[in-house]
């Protein structure tokens, strides 16, 4: 099936089998490997992307269902290594990662959180991260990063 959608601000048209998952489409066909597949059962959240501005798990989403939609992956957060998104910069400054595998999903979830709640408390951040698992258990600095990232996003808006 041919589908067209906006991916990281660029229009794309691709042919996919109906059973193709969005995570496989972006990683295998479109070579955007920043979106990670951890559990492949919609529990770990490493595959979180934004669909029409909402965080969703791309491993549990048919590629055909984003036809006509707007998708943003972690690659779409910044255009170059020097000019990071405020949330990415906050993760860097606060060492909000250990092995880094869960980081793309953490970033995408965190940015969606700040969209809903510009000044989240630590408890609200921890509750929002229900769907993102860090198997290094590095939550302390992830939460610190999101508090800093939210402040930076507020300052930038």
């Amino acid at each position: 099936m041919e589908i067209s959608f906006v991916l990281n601000d660029e229009p794309v048209t691709v042919n996919v089998d109906p059973s193709t998952l969005l995570s496989d489409l972006v990683r295998e066909q479109l070579s955007l490997t920043g979106t990670h597949v951890g559990c492949d059962t919609s529990q770990c959240g490493a595959c979180v992307v934004h669909l029409n501005g909402d965080s969703v798990k791309s491993c549990t989403l048919l590629a055909v269902s984003v036809d006509g939609g707007d998708v943003r992956t972690v690659e779409g957060l910044s255009t170059n290594d020097k000019d990071l998104h405020p949330m990415q910069q906050a993760f860097r400054d606060n060492h909000g990662l250990q092995c880094g595998f869960c980081t793309p999903g953490m970033l995408m979830s965190a940015i969606d959180l700040v969209k809903h709640n510009p000044d989240p408390s630590e408890a609200e951040i921890r509750e929002w991260l229900e769907g993102n698992i860090c198997r290094c258990t590095g939550y302390q600095n992830i939460v610190k990063s999101i508090i800093a990232g939210a402040a930076a996003m507020r300052a930038a808006s």
Binding site: M1, D17, P18, S19, L21, D40, T41, S42, Q43, G45, V48, L51, D54, S55, V56, K57, T60, L61, L62, V64, S65, S109, D112, L113, W128, E130, G131, N132
Partner: protein, 267 residues
């Protein structure tokens, strides 16, 4: 996942005609249960009918005294709806605690009740509030809708289009979530109306059910203390690696008391 034919009709009639006579067709709403099931090959439909393109199936409105929620309304939209928060806050709160935020951005109320997972949250609200399930053919009372584990009164090819909730005087939902899946190990919805008290339990049994002893005690006196001498029969409750039936029976009473307290606080 096995391959399938994908259809995305834009009317209810289009959905119904694709499903008619096709035993190997499945409806997909948000896909939060169906896609994982297909990935595990526990389901392998030949035809998948995506109803997300059907206009008019999503949204929240009031129809007289009834709160009407379209089948394709996502959990996040129920949780954030100003109408639901004002008219039926217990339901908005229930929706805000289903799964995680990413699931709430895809999962739908119609999908949840049609699937009738024995540990899902929405069936407790639908049964506890004595809601009506509107399909493409008829209106089904909640007491008749939930038949058994993963089984409803829906006929083959019949789809839910909306759920109509009467507004209670007091209501609340308390759940003890499994810490990994967030599914209810025991969830209790209590609702007090002019007609009496209804109490629906999810997560503990093989399907959502009404707890008549708890209802009778609360009808006498709607306070948590009224449940001090009540217990529920554990013999028909579920046991699994997370909790045995005795523990679930205990949790049901704890959640029932908690829900009554929350309902009184909110009222």
């Amino acid at each position: 996942m096995r391959s399938f034919n994908y259809h995305k009709p834009d009317t209810v009639d289009g959905v119904v005609s694709l499903l008619a006579g096709n035993e190997n067709a499945s409806v997909i709403a948000g896909g939060m249960t169906l896609l994982p099931t297909m990935k595990q090959r526990l389901a392998a439909p030949d035809d998948l009918v995506d109803i997300s393109g059907v206009a008019g199936l999503a949204g929240v409105s009031m129809d007289g005294d009834m709160l009407v929620i379209g089948a394709m309304t996502r959990h996040a939209d129920v949780a954030e709806s100003e109408i639901v928060r004002e008219k039926l806050p217990a339901l908005a709160k229930l929706a805000s605690r289903i799964g995680d935020q990413q699931v709430r951005h895809r999962g739908t109320i119609g999908g949840s009740i049609s699937n009738n997972d024995p540990a899902a949250d929405y069936p407790a609200a639908v049964l506890g509030l004595n809601a009506e399930i509107v399909t493409d053919k008829r209106t089904i009372p909640a007491d008749e809708f939930f038949v058994a584990m993963f089984e409803t009164a829906l006929e083959p090819g019949e789809i839910v289009t909306a759920i109509r909730f009467p507004l209670p005087e007091l209501a609340a939902y308390a759940k003890f979530p499994n810490p990994a899946s967030r599914y209810a190990m025991a969830g209790v919805f209590v609702a007090k109306t002019g007609d009496g008290v209804r109490v629906a339990v999810t997560g503990a049994g093989p399907g959502v059910f009404r707890a008549s002893d708890i209802e009778a005690a609360l009808a006498e006196s709607f306070d948590a203390g009224a449940l001090d001498r009540i217990s529920i029969d554990a013999s028909e409750l579920m046991s699994d690696i997370h909790a045995d039936n005795e523990y679930r029976a205990h949790l049901v009473m704890v959640m029932a008391r908690r829900a009554v307290g929350m309902a009184l606080d909110a009222g």
